[in-house]
Symmetry: C2
Subunit: 302 residues, 2 copies
């Protein structure tokens, strides 16, 4: 199936506040979007939705772009299909998504009939509601899929609860905002705890023989997040089971990094014969995703 | 060797015109740079140099970014080392660069002692002069390297002259601005002729058993340039010798495409044991570069 996401303008709304919005990528460097703000709210997190002729609708949390209508599929397919297909076919039955209240990762997981349970645990109740209203394409093919459960809760608290109950998962996906690890270690993002050693020790217990994958930003502009997340992983999991892969999500500017604990051998070789209906992912791109630039390798030599 | 290009601010000048410059990537979508214009001229091409805290110095031609101090090495290493290392060790002795007046590609080529001759043919005499003054790091390690020749001439004219003289090359690199192939086929870029069938027919004659590689923009935002360049290649060269690879140059926003004619088998396997002093390129990244997203493959199914 062909999805025409390249080079053409998308339809836009006419209501709302017309702005030139600048997203700071780094000091003195911004991505700028002419567009219309069709939703804005300052709550637990500052959220707004911008409509732009090129990107379609764009969701921002705390002034940082989370995804766009045009290229969210690249991010979500990379986050889900690479870890799933790294395992022997049929290994993944129960999946926990920490964050991911936008449903995008769940949509991809539910494409596999072999997957029996998908739980989203997101701290912010607004995200799923906004997606239902403004980004219906992120919902699973069957939005009432009985395999899907959405829990509004701090993932840290929920994981502890699952541990107390003796529950286990085959795959844990951490799909959160970037943790804003600055040079001085100061952070204001809600997601910060999801990048730490304590949280991963709990996940290791919750998912002792399974896969854990975490999005960790764009290393070229966020080197600290990349190295700190990797350090957390090798601190908690056996170092030889820790891998890094990358994906180019155009609206993120430079390659996004994903750190993964995978106890199965050779995750760079896709293992499922079955390929769901996808637009970015292929076995070709799977193999390619594990090849890293020399300066990424150097940043991981910690 | 480690090059610290990630996450830190670069030193800047204080003289010049302070601006917020917006580079249009697409309709209603811009990259914006706060910076100082330290050089500007409207000549054969409109050229200016912006100094920005994050990117360092940035060269713009006709308002389009050509390269930055911070990440030009990724572009130039991808443009040079992938084609060179796709061939059996020692196959490349004589190289023609069409465009490339910034010396970056030549700098990379001259790292190989096996390469005997590198000719740059650039139409614009200003580019080499500006690089010598403002981007000395793009010059070859030995700027007086006797293997290097710079010719200010239209590459189209020069290639015809070489054909008349019976000269031959082992590798031709087309390192030009994007050709601005719009939906309606209108173009104003000097580089336009370098993307056409006539030019490649001449190159095929000039380099009958060698490699020809052409940078062809970022397909996510310039789908037409990607498909048109590929069509030119399969029109002129044997289709089974035409390959595509990609590289993520962060200042370009999304993955850049390179189309290559390579008559040697399996170009995705690097063949040289020797690895010059590089910061991005590795055999790992070489193999990975040939894995393309599903939607790129679909855009190439022409």
């Amino acid at each position: 199936m062909v999805k025409d996401i390249m080079s053409k303008a998308l339809p836009t709304e006419t209501k709302g506040v017309r702005v030139l919005f600048g997203e700071f990528v780094n000091i003195d460097y911004l991505y700028s979007y002419l567009g219309t703000i069709i939703y804005a709210e300052s709550g637990m997190q500052n959220i707004f939705i911008l409509e732009n002729k090129f990107w379609g609708r764009m969701l921002f949390i705390n002034n940082n772009l989370q995804f766009t209508s045009r290229d969210e599929f690249i991010y979500h397919e990379s986050l889900v299909h690479i870890p799933v297909q790294s395992t022997p076919e049929g290994s993944i039955k129960k999946v926990l998504i920490c964050g991911g209240g936008d449903y995008g990762a769940a949509r991809e997981l539910l494409k596999y009939p072999e997957i029996e349970e998908v739980v989203i645990v997101d701290i912010d109740p607004k995200i799923p509601k906004l997606v239902e209203e403004y980004f219906p394409e992120l919902l699973p093919e069957d939005p009432k899929d009985p395999r899907l459960k959405l829990i509004v809760e701090d993932a840290f608290v929920m994981v502890q609860k699952y541990l107390d109950e003796g529950k286990a998962f085959d795959l844990v996906i951490i799909d959160s905002t970037d943790p804003d690890i600055s040079d001085t270690g100061i952070t204001q993002e809600l997601s910060h705890a999801l990048f730490g050693v304590k949280f991963h020790q709990m996940l290791y217990e919750l998912c002792p023989k399974g896969v854990v994958v975490q999005q960790c930003g764009t290393p070229f502009t966020m080197k600290n997040i990349f190295t700190e997340t990797y350090k957390t992983f090798i601190n908690v999991y056996p170092a030889k089971e820790v891998f890094c892969y990358r994906s180019n999500v155009p609206s993120f500017g430079s390659d996004n990094a994903f750190i993964m604990r995978c106890p199965y051998p050779n995750p760079e070789i896709p293992k499922w014969k079955e390929l769901p209906n996808v637009y970015f992912y292929s076995h070709e791109i799977h193999r390619s995703a594990f090849g890293l630039p020399k300066f990424w390798r150097e940043a991981l030599a910690v």
